[in-house]
Amino acid sequence: MSLRIVRPGLLTTVQDRGRFGLQHFGVVPCGPMDPVALELANALVGNRGDEAALEITLLGPEIAFESDALVALCGAEMEARAGGVPMPTDRPVLLEKGTVLNARRATLGSRAYLAVAGGIAIDPVLGSRSTYLPARFGGLQGRALRAGDGLPLIDRVSAISQGRYESLKGKKIFGRLRSVSWSAPALTLPAREPIVIHAMAGRHHALFDAAARRAFFEATWKVTPDSNRMGFRLAGPVLARAEAGEIISEPTCLGTVQVPPNGLPIALMADHQTTGGYPKIAEIAAADVPRLAQLAPGGAVQFARCTLEQAGELRRVLRQRVDAARRALAWDYR
């Protein structure tokens, strides 16, 4: 039970839900940039939500399956083929032994998740299988996947996965892949740009001058090409401070928007540093971070100011939508 990387794609890493409880040692959780897509991918193949899957970035990999595998590709829409025919996304697909999955360019969104029933059987490091690229541990040797890498799969799958595997295995197909006719909803893809991301004023919002405070919530920002899993660098108006002065290094969070001395904001993403000394102009609502993560370099974003209460409401709404999607797929699975 394993899969082999034929071509790695732009940046393909192993990610589970993340490595929690160690931020006071400077260890950030890492985990998926879009946890919603990872959760749905795992649910589609009958895995627990915390199993490790592959996070695929912008340009997909080519992967050979050395055994039958129940898989699901969620998140960014990708041009993907398996065994030479188009691979349907956001649904369970049974790939038979010897099949090669060829994922190419992302056509909408930037990060896709390939979950395999059972999950990826690499040893957890400090309680997680997530790849920690800056510190080079976790995942496969702490690095992005390369051509020739083999990834063993956990062969004791859940009863749900087994049932789903068998129902697809018995299905009559006519030159297509073994799959179903329904799909899970894409909850985090950018419908049209600029996408609107909700954010609260940050702890140091008042340190910026009036023009900067206004510009942050009015400008259209572009994600620059040097953005990565640590942070999204945003190009737009330069945000000036009302007065200079150093900020004492303090904890930073997923979704913190900090402004270094060049005046261009950085939204902190999954691999961010745990502390930092740049002023924080905003904090992105937790529910909107996965949607921001799906924006590709060059993508446009506007920030809509929200209150803490509104951010809480956004969270509840997102949770309800994810739960509804999970219930629907459990029901439709046949």
């Binding site: 510190a135 937790a286 803490l308």
Partner: protein
């Protein structure tokens, strides 16, 4: 003493003196002792504590942020006096010019000789105020005020792993080769962070630190 951070994290904060840091470490310990299932991370820092929680945890109270000040106050009452971790970390450091890349500059700024700088650094009462930035990187307070130098105007693009560096009133030990703006006065052969070791991090908040001068030969035999 309380500031909101966002809807999946919150923080308490105060001034940047040793006493505040110690009361915040006590607060972090008291919060940790509550064992709240929806709390993912409690991060004591120089002058604040961040609490990261799972925004989708089923047990998360609906009005968690509204209720948080009261929870913090309770934790403060329960926290009592700061106790250090009870650990003293001994860190061998070679202060030789080959590793102390910025010794001359520090010497120029402080008007102290390299051997005086070493002596003052070794005799300072060091305490880990926070671990952050990258895995295992300690921010160590207690540096003798005579050694207080500002950050370098132009940060180095590469601080070698193990570099012992100072800025303002603190010492840092760099676990990884990273860019950095602090002045390097020595290097330790120890691995500051090793995910395969238990515990992975050499330093934890609240640890006392003794820097022990070693020669180049000793450095090489330990490295």
């Amino acid at each position: 003493m309380y500031a909101e951070f966002g809807d999946s994290r919150t923080a308490a904060s105060g001034g940047v003196d040793l006493e505040t840091n110690q009361s915040l470490q006590a607060l972090a310990a008291a919060l940790r002792a509550r064992g709240l299932p929806w709390v993912r991370d409690i991060v004591p820092a120089l002058c604040g504590v961040a609490v990261h929680f799972d925004p989708f945890h089923p047990a998360l109270p609906a009005r968690v942020l509204e209720e948080f000040p009261a929870l913090l106050e309770d934790a403060f009452k329960a926290a009592g006096k700061f106790e250090d971790s009870g650990r003293t970390v001994e860190v061998p450091v070679c202060y030789d010019a080959i590793y102390a890349l910025d010794m001359d500059e520090v010497s120029g700024t402080t008007r102290l000789s390299p051997s005086q700088i070493q002596k003052l650094h070794v005799s300072s009462k060091h305490l880990v105020l926070m671990v952050g930035f990258s895995p295992g990187q300690p921010y160590i307070g207690g540096l003798d005020p005579k050694l207080a130098v500002p950050r370098r105007a132009t940060p180095r693009t590469v601080m070698p792993a193990g570099s012992v560096a100072i800025a303002n009133a603190q010492t840092a030990v760099y676990p990884y080769e990273t860019p950095g703006g602090w002045s390097i006065i020595g290097r330790t052969p120890l691995r500051v962070f090793d995910p395969a070791r238990e515990p992975a991090s050499l330093f934890a908040p609240g640890d006392r630190v003794h820097f022990i001068p070693i020669s180049r030969d000793e450095f090489e035999s330990l490295a």
